[in-house]
Symmetry: C2
Subunit: 275 residues, 2 copies
Amino acid sequence: MAYAHKLIGTHSIKLRDFDPEYDAGLKREQGEEKLKKLSAELTRLQELLYAAGQHSVLIVLQGRDTSGKDGTIKTVMGPLNSLGCQVASFKVPTAEELAHDFLWRIHKQTPGKGEITIFNRSHYEDVLVVRVHKFAPDKVWRARYDHINNFEKLLTESNTIVLKFYLHISKEEQEQRLLEREQDATKYWKLSAGDWKERQYWNDYTRAYEDALNQCSAPHAPWFVVPANKKWFRNLAVAEAVVAAMKPYEKQWMKRLEEVGLKSKAEIEAFRAKP
Amino acid sequence: MAYAHKLIGTHSIKLRDFDPEYDAGLKREQGEEKLKKLSAELTRLQELLYAAGQHSVLIVLQGRDTSGKDGTIKTVMGPLNSLGCQVASFKVPTAEELAHDFLWRIHKQTPGKGEITIFNRSHYEDVLVVRVHKFAPDKVWRARYDHINNFEKLLTESNTIVLKFYLHISKEEQEQRLLEREQDATKYWKLSAGDWKERQYWNDYTRAYEDALNQCSAPHAPWFVVPANKKWFRNLAVAEAVVAAMKPYEKQWMKRLEEVGLKSKAEIEAFRAKP
């Protein structure tokens, strides 16, 4: 069963309809046990993906400050083989990036066949922070939903499995986490002066996220609303969705490996290195 | 007046309707005189484009073997300041390029604001040579016209002036030029064994070019059919079209320079270097 809510068409969802505390009635220990199994499964699927070299996986992580993007990467993606798995973080654009269309810096970082790439923030910032802070005129960011849909269609038609996660926390939970960051010397470096300021735009971000989720969901590039107040459940929900998306290709990838007669890891390596 | 035939909407042109020998009734000396003036104009417009930093120019050169892509770059673009003008040549894709969607390597090379980029071959190869030689299934290359149109729309909405030139030579002219390359030691290096072979696919390429021109012409990203049997006229026609496309922005760029109070080249340089 799925733990995150999957959006695959044009919707008119409201974020308030999703409970950030949701945990499917699981206890933390149960959730962690399930995650362990999913992790092993994911590691196996990554190896197959890599060796078969027929598909790519693009995982987009979005969410408000403190929603747990870094934590998700560390826990869910951490165990993966970094040969064939990379994280691309999109911060404030550089001058060179701003001199190009908004997808220029994004497209460069998309995964090649056999690879998994995790976007820590993404092209969606260009309809989120840009909209909320009016960094571009309405006309410009409004046109971007179409550009994003076209871009993701291009990727999926080239065999990229595109999965987008909105890590859904409550306003109270964010306050809690920001206070923790202030008080915990080991977390203080994660707190920037801007975080409390951004919080003032909570409702604007809500509207911006709702539009992005509603306008850019497709069967080939779904959004997942991930209940993220409980970190263990957030990790479980993301891992479950990634495994569920890759699993249907398992047989095809196995078959591919059999076709080319690969047996050992070393053979797989040598095979992948071929042009 | 325009020397190349501009296509700005969905058409059903046939290449046989365009005379590759066309020269607008000009004599070679007249044409060369005109080109000299256009070159000076283009150099001036480039300087403004660069200093204003508001637009980019993308020039796509396509044509059969020997149609004069290299010659056009040398003669028409050669005089431009290479600070702010680069050529991107797209050869047989590398393994890394093939592991991504067909626009991945193309998008990376698009010009930033203030810059001119010339594509020596381009994303159109993915609906030309790929189609003719069946490097991809029908379904795959047919879907690419839409992807190309979406991509060029993205670029033009980010203030890129997109101009695409098909250098139109006759089959007889190509034969002549291939023979010349065989006999001229200084040109022999330009001849590859594949050139005579590709010639066998003349009609297939004609159909592929006709579809690309007919399906991917738009007011914001026009194709130009350039009569190219006469090299001097080909150069003239391309230069004329580029100047005509940039000229309408002249006042806006001048105004921008006045706004920021730029006077000398040094000031312009310093201005451009700012983030």
